[in-house]
């Protein structure tokens, strides 16, 4: 492949949306209320839409007649580049919101920076996606506040969820060697430039939601290098089932 770094860089962004979208899709018909059920699956649809544009681009770089579906569906676990945060299970609604919120704030800042990429395709996907991600962030941020500053029980569950996901944030700001070469060439985004503003935005909003900002220095990472948690295999089993069972199936 002539542009391996760019290919991997695209997957690093696209796989987060694919796997988070898959997690949200599990909630279809199972949301705590009809409105939240529809909202979460609409967010999943936005993420899948964005991811299609990325995978189409990645497939064109991969050559060999590869399609967006090949890239999305037919890789082995070690070749997925999503962060551990997005593959964590739904557990309860507080977890769904905490995972979503912590990702949305990052996603919005990443898209904001990616708009200025000197790669025209990535810049266009970001310019399109950023408008949608703004709505995602408003949705998860509102629920964070509503649950944090809600009843005793909702507050406790929201705090537990934030504490649970806190160690996963650090990986969002890790850069791989491919990332670094992409940053150097003006295609990639240097996530370190908005690390501080990420933490300050999240901290402010947690306080507003009467939640305590965790001080846990421990971090959990590996997904960006293809080393995933035990949950990933189960996600892929479901995601890839049709293509593995009926190879080359189309509809």
């Amino acid at each position: 492949m002539k542009n391996q770094d760019l290919y991997i860089y695209i997957l690093g962004i696209a796989d987060n949306s694919l796997i988070l979208g898959q997690r949200l899709g599990e909630l279809c018909g199972h949301g705590p209320s009809l409105e939240t059920d529809i909202a979460l699956t609409n967010i999943a649809l936005d993420l899948f839409g964005q991811t299609r544009s990325y995978y189409r681009y990645a497939a064109s770089l991969a050559g060999e007649g590869k399609t967006e579906d090949d890239v999305a569906m037919l890789r082995i676990e070690r070749d997925y580049r999503n962060v551990l945060l997005v593959e964590q299970p739904n557990t309860h609604f507080g977890h769904v919101i905490a995972r979503q919120y912590l990702f949305d704030v990052f996603h919005f800042q990443l898209m904001t920076a990616l708009v200025d990429s000197n790669d025209e395709t990535l810049a266009a996907v970001a310019a399109k996606g950023i408008k949608e991600v703004g709505y995602h962030k408003r949705f998860s941020g509102d629920w964070l506040k509503r649950l944090g500053d809600g009843t005793g029980e909702s507050h406790e569950k929201m705090q537990e969820a934030i504490d649970h996901f806190w160690p996963y944030i650090a990986e969002l700001f890790d850069t791989t060697e491919s990332d670094e070469r992409m940053i150097e060439s003006g295609v990639g985004v240097d996530v370190a430039t908005f690390r501080e503003s990420y933490y300050s935005e999240v901290t402010d909003q947690l306080k507003e939601a009467t939640l305590t900002v965790p001080e846990n220095p421990y971090s959990k990472k590996g997904g960006k290098q293809g080393v995933h948690s035990e949950h990933m295999g189960y996600i892929l089993t479901e995601l890839q089932y049709m293509q593995r069972t009926y190879p080359n199936l189309t509809w």
């Binding site: 909202a39 609409n42 993420l47 408003r138």
Partner: protein, 167 residues
């Protein structure tokens, strides 16, 4: 990179383009929605550039097929290409389209600042499509599709969709 925000549409093709409806809101044509960014005829082939409203909009494949079919009916071959830049905005919807949308039961998008106020619950300004009252409130930021929010009227109690501003 400079981006031309005005669509390049050959006037002779407009009539056929207006035969193609938005599958999600069938009272609107693709011209009303502002999703056609280019339509030109070259050597007997019509080249169309189509842009999605939302990245994951499932209507895009259908619209693309419908466009090809509409031109085929008039004896022309059309080739549809999906383009992402510049990104679609609700500003591209026609005024006539917004009126048709309202009559159909979907409140059309407000301008950006008003939209924010309405969605954040700071102001009651989205007009109920059933009784016309603005005594309405947000039920959910996502309605029947990602591009809409769900509102309810506190005068007639009717719930209705509001097409969110996208800018």
């Amino acid at each position: 990179m400079t981006i031309d925000l005005h669509p390049n549409i050959d006037e002779n093709l407009v009539q056929i383009l207006e035969e193609v409806a938005d599958p999600e809101i069938p009272v609107l044509t693709v011209m009303d929605m502002g999703v056609i960014r280019e339509a030109v005829a070259r050597d007997g082939v019509v080249y169309i550039k189509l842009t999605p409203t939302y990245s994951g909009c499932p209507a895009m494949d259908v619209i693309s097929d419908d466009l090809t079919a509409a031109f085929k009916k008039h004896g022309m071959e059309a080739r549809v290409e999906l383009v992402l830049a510049p990104a679609w905005t609700t500003d591209w919807m026609s005024e006539a389209g917004k009126r048709k949308m309202e009559a159909y039961g979907i409140a059309p998008p407000l301008e950006e600042t008003a939209d924010k106020d309405a969605l954040l619950g700071n102001a009651r300004i989205v007009k109920c499509t059933n009784c016309g009252s603005t005594n309405t409130r947000l039920l959910s930021q996502f309605g029947s599709t990602a591009c809409k929010a769900l509102f309810q009227c506190d005068d007639c109690q009717e719930p209705f969709d509001y097409f969110k501003c996208l800018k």
